[in-house]
Each structure stands twice: as structure tokens, then as C-alpha cells.
């Protein structure tokens, strides 16, 4: 691998590895809460932080982290007050953050590092060894908090009202989550840029959401997908000369489209097979019922009828009742006849 011979590419790949792992681990809670745009809003706020860092000649990354965390806490407090809707609060952050960043950066003295593009779109190859150390610290901190509080964060994201009713510290957990998002934003700034940060948090989770059966599975899957697209996107961008951020995000979206298509195809096939099986019994001489001559077999929450050695479960579809085949011990593949299946 010639690409690994360059120090800047080694650092770039390490950075993308950390980002790919961390962004979905936090993003999945945002997806769960349907608050996908929080990452975007905090990304914009981080730009103001960057600008302040440049203006005061302190470390832009540190200043961005402080600004994003403050913004995160602020937005949760506003949401908790309940007066302004979270939506409006987000919008104010969005526009205030980016406007503040652009205006402040324009005030910076000539000669300072005011490369706006690098922050907006990422500049992964400029990652320094010191940056890597900061990134590693953020990665460890975020993963540790998710490991420690993940179940609580899930609880609050899943049903905030229940969490509040039974006495979970909802506000504190929301602030923790927002702070995690802020940290992730700053971590991802170099790799994907402030404008595309949300994509790496959300898209892998959206893929996982399509195929996972449990939340835990979805979390691991999203992290895996994030890791793969992040590292391979960075590698690809080296060979194609395209910006790393856009390449990674396009790759993630490609994965999403492929998986979504595969899921849709599988469902269509299952539906077709189901309909075909229904046709076999379209010419069924009668509707099963008490005393129809077939043995009734209770099966979970419904009754099957033994029809020449296989079990029939009445099932209502758009075109009328047909019969699903239910094995003697198999769980029903779909819901049997319920409302109006007369």
C-alpha cells in the first residue's frame, strides 16, 4: 500500500477511522429521537467557534469544541423550557452560527489561517499529529460515555415522556447527548467538514435502521458501516483527488440506496410469494369456521384449521380472505385475520 508511506495519509486514515466509528454511535440516538438536524445546527455553531479561535489566535479546534458544547447545552435548555419549539431553536442556531462564523472570519487579520473552505468541506490531509491526539481523546471520551450511558440515552430517545414520568434525569441525559453531538462535530470537522457532518452521523444509522432487528444491533451495524465508508472514502479520495468529505458521504449514500433497494426487493418477493400461495387456495370450497368439518387448532392469538395435514390461517388482504399456511409450531409470518375478516 503506497498510500500508507505518506505520513499525512497515515494521519488522515487514522482520523477517518475514528470519525467513522464515533459519528454513527452518536447519530443513532438522534435518528431515534427524530432530531437528525441537531448535528447540522451544532456544526454551524462550531464555525463561530472556529472564527473566534482564529481571531484570538487560540486553537480553532478547542474554540470550536467550546462553542459547540455551549450551543448544545443552550438548545437543550431552550427545548426543556418548552416555550420555543425545538425546531425554531435549531433554526436560530443554524443561521446564527454560520453567519457569526463568516462575519468573524472576515474580520481576521490578513495572514491568519482563514481558509473557510477547509472548515466547511474538510481538509483531512492537513491533520497534524497534535490534531490526532485531540481526536483520539475525543473518540475515547465519546465511546466511553456511550458505553456507560447508552441504555439511558436509548430510553430517553425512545420515549422521553416515560423516562420523565419514572424519574430518569431527562434533562441531564439530553445535555449529555447534545454534548456528545458537539464533540463529534468538532472531531469530524477536519474529515468531512462542517457542512457534511450530519451526513456521517445520520446516513449509516439510516442504513442500520432498515435491516437491524434490535437497537443494539442497529448501533453496532451503524458504527461498522460508518467505519467502512469513512476509511474507504478517504482512500478513494487519495486516488481520485476528490475532497474526502464529499467522497465519504457519497459512498454512505450509495450504501444506503443499495440496501434500501435490496430490502424493497425482498419485501416485494415475499409479497408476491404470499399472493401466489393465496392463489392456490383461491378455489377453496368454503370459508373455514366452527363446524366446517376441519379440525380447529388454536395457534397463539388465532385459530388455524387443519386442511389435509397443513394448517390454514384466515388472513384478510385487500382482495378478501385467503389462507396462510401456518406450520404446526412456526410463528405466524404475518398477522392472521383480525378486524373485519368476515
Amino acid at each position: 500500500m503506497e498510500i500508507l508511506e505518506y505520513g499525512f495519509m497515515q494521519r488522515a486514515l487514522l482520523a477517518s477511522l475514528m470519525v467513522g466509528l464515533v459519528a454513527p454511535a452518536v447519530g443513532i440516538f438522534l435518528v431515534q429521537r427524530r432530531l437528525s438536524l441537531l448535528g447540522d445546527g451544532l456544526g454551524h455553531v462550531a464555525l463561530t467557534g472556529v472564527a473566534i479561535g482564529v481571531l484570538t489566535s487560540t486553537a480553532p479546534v478547542g474554540a470550536a469544541l467550546v462553542a459547540a458544547v455551549l450551543g448544545a447545552v443552550l438548545i437543550e435548555l431552550v427545548r426543556a423550557r418548552g416555550r420555543t419549539s425545538g425546531d425554531v431553536a435549531l433554526a436560530v442556531l443554524f443561521y446564527g452560527g454560520i453567519a457569526g462564523g463568516v462575519v468573524l472570519l472576515s474580520l481576521a487579520p490578513r495572514g491568519s489561517a482563514t481558509n473557510l473552505d477547509a472548515y466547511l468541506f474538510g481538509a483531512i490531509t492537513t491533520t497534524s499529529a497534535e490534531d490526532l491526539a485531540v481526536f483520539a481523546a475525543i473518540t475515547l471520551a465519546v465511546l466511553a460515555v456511550v458505553g456507560l450511558l447508552g441504555q439511558r440515552l436509548y430510553a430517553v430517545s425512545d420515549d422521553e415522556e416515560y423516562a420523565r414520568a419514572v424519574g430518569l434525569p431527562v434533562l441531564a441525559l439530553n445535555i449529555v447527548l447534545a454534548a456528545l453531538v458537539a464533540s463529534t462535530v468538532v472531531l469530524s470537522m477536519r474529515v468531512v467538514g462542517l457542512l457534511l457532518i450530519s451526513a456521517l452521523m445520520i446516513v449509516p444509522s439510516a442504513v442500520a435502521q432498515l435491516v437491524a432487528r434490535s437497537f443494539r444491533q442497529a448501533l453496532y451495524l451503524a458504527c461498522g458501516i460508518g467505519l467502512v465508508v469513512s476509511v474507504s472514502g478517504t482512500t478513494a479520495s487519495y486516488y481520485t483527488g476528490t475532497p474526502s468529505g464529499g467522497t465519504i458521504v457519497l459512498l454512505a449514500i450509495a450504501v444506503f440506496l443499495v440496501v434500501a433497494a435490496a430490502v424493497a426487493l425482498r419485501e416485494a418477493t415475499a409479497r408476491r410469494r404470499h399472493r401466489r400461495r393465496g392463489d392456490v387456495h383461491a378455489a377453496h370450497p368454503h370459508e373455514h369456521g366452527p363446524g366446517c368439518g376441519h379440525q380447529a387448532v388454536p395457534h397463539g392469538d388465532h385459530v388455524d384449521y387443519d386442511h389435509d395435514g397443513h394448517l390454514h390461517a384466515p388472513h384478510l388482504t385487500g382482495t378478501g380472505v385467503h389462507y396462510d399456511e401456518h406450520g404446526t409450531d412456526a410463528a405466524p409470518a404475518d398477522r392472521p385475520a383480525t378486524e373485519g375478516a368476515r
Binding site: 443513532i28 435518528v31 431515534q32 429521537r33 427524530r34 456507560l148 450511558l149 441504555q151 439511558r152 436509548y154 430510553a155 430517545s157 425512545d158 420515549d159 415522556e161 416515560y162 423516562a163 420523565r164 414520568a165 419514572v166 424519574g167 430518569l168 434525569p169 441531564a172 444509522s205 442500520a208 435502521q209 437491524a212 432487528r213 434490535s214 437497537f215 443494539r216 444491533q217 442497529a218 373455514h288 369456521g289 366452527p290 363446524g291 380447529a296 388454536p298 392469538d301 388465532h302 385459530v303 388455524d304 384449521y305 390461517a313 384466515p314 410463528a331 398477522r335 392472521p336 385475520a337 383480525t338 378486524e339 375478516a341 368476515r342
Partner: protein, 271 residues
Amino acid sequence: MTARSPGDVAVRLHDASIGYDDVPIVARVDLTVRHGEAIAVLGSNGSGKTTLARGLLGLAPVLGGDVEILGAPVGRLRDPGRIGYVPQRHTVSGAVPATVREVVSVGRLARLGLFRRLRAADRVAVGEAVAAVGLADRMEEPIASLSGGQQRRVLVARALAAQPELLIMDEPTAGVDAASQDALAEVLARVSAAGTTLLVVTHETGPLASVLARAVVVDQGRISYDGPLAGAASGSGEHHCGPVADAGRPGYRLDQPTVTARPVRSLGGGR
């Protein structure tokens, strides 16, 4: 956890008003529920039953008067995890798939403080709660793949898993079939006998009538009846016309699917 004599007060509302946006829905209500009591909250649609329950839980603002729950003003409860709650909302809402086990496990979390993890005893409680609502074999399935009534039962299990001192249920039997209602009545009888205070909002006491001794009827935000369930007036009409509480009213409960019944569940899953 805490030793209590049955006479202690679990819930006390004194001249309490609860509402939204400064508009009281429940107005100037007095109500006292002692530990270990099992009480039905009846009343017509929109009378304020859910608002009352949400006020107790700190989910709807108390606009006036005093509301005390488990000995502390609303929202000031010291050790969390002493309350179980079944919301009226039908389903679980999260966008990411979650299994029955994951949803019900949330019921245990509040007891564990901020950092402790679920232990063997917690997993046993989760398993028992899921078994109590008859879904033990669906434990690892994504909740979205269950029917509406089954999802409802998962939310009941989540509240049971907490093994709470006070269990507030908002129409736990809505959309739940007769067999599962019977099973729920059995479970509630058991936790009630063990000392749990029950507050159950419902339109049809049905099989729960054997558990819920006392009833309050909410009528346009006020309590119009407080006494034995058997004497409670109809919650579904404007006028109080005769007892509703005769649980076994024929025709209300459809028979559970038996060998002779037609293959239809009693109450539809979704609403």
C-alpha cells in the same frame, strides 16, 4: 425498599388544578389514595382522566393547589423508579428498531440510578414482566412487528418490570383481547396483594373489576363520584345512570378464541 403501613398516603391532591398552557383541564380536585389501594378512574372522553394521571407524573403542569405523590410534591420524588406508568398512547415511537426485551428493560433503568447496569435480578424481572403479559416467546422480536394490542401489552410489561410502589395505567386494556385482559387482571391482583398502589384509567373495568375496589369518576375536570366501584356511575354518558361496573356484562367480552369460536380476536389491534 421502604417499609410503609398500608394507611400511608400514596397520592394526595388538594384543591389541585392541572392543565395545559395555563388553562386548567382538571380543576380544584381533592383526592387521596392510600398505599395499597387499587382505584379505577372512570369518565367520558375528554373529561380529564389522562390529564389527571399526567399531572401526578409531572408531565402536565400543576396550575394550582397541591399534588403530592409518594410523600413528595410532584417532580421532587427522591429515589426514582418507584413509579410505573402505562401511557395512553398506543405504540412505541422510536425510529430505530428495538426488541421487546429492550423496551421492557427501560422499565428497570430508573431504579438503577445513572450508572448501574442491568444485573441478573433485573433480567429476571424483565422476563417475568414479559411472561406476565403473555409475550415470552416474542422477547427478541422487534416491537414494530407486533400487533397493536401486543405492543400495548409490551408497554404494560415495561411498567410491571419496574416493580413499582405506584402503578399508573392509562387504559391498559384498550385494544387488548379478552384472554389478555383476564391475564392482566390476574397480574394486577398479584401486585396489588403485594402492596402496590394501583391507579387505572379505564372505560371498561371488565375483568379488572375484581381488582379495583374503589372508583372515582371524572366529569368535566371534576370528580363527580368517589366510592366503591360497584356504585360508580357510567363514565361514558353525560348522566349518571346506573352501575357500569358489572364486569361480566355479556356481550362486552367476546369469548377468547376456542375450538368452537370463529377465528377472530375480540378487540381490534390498531385504532
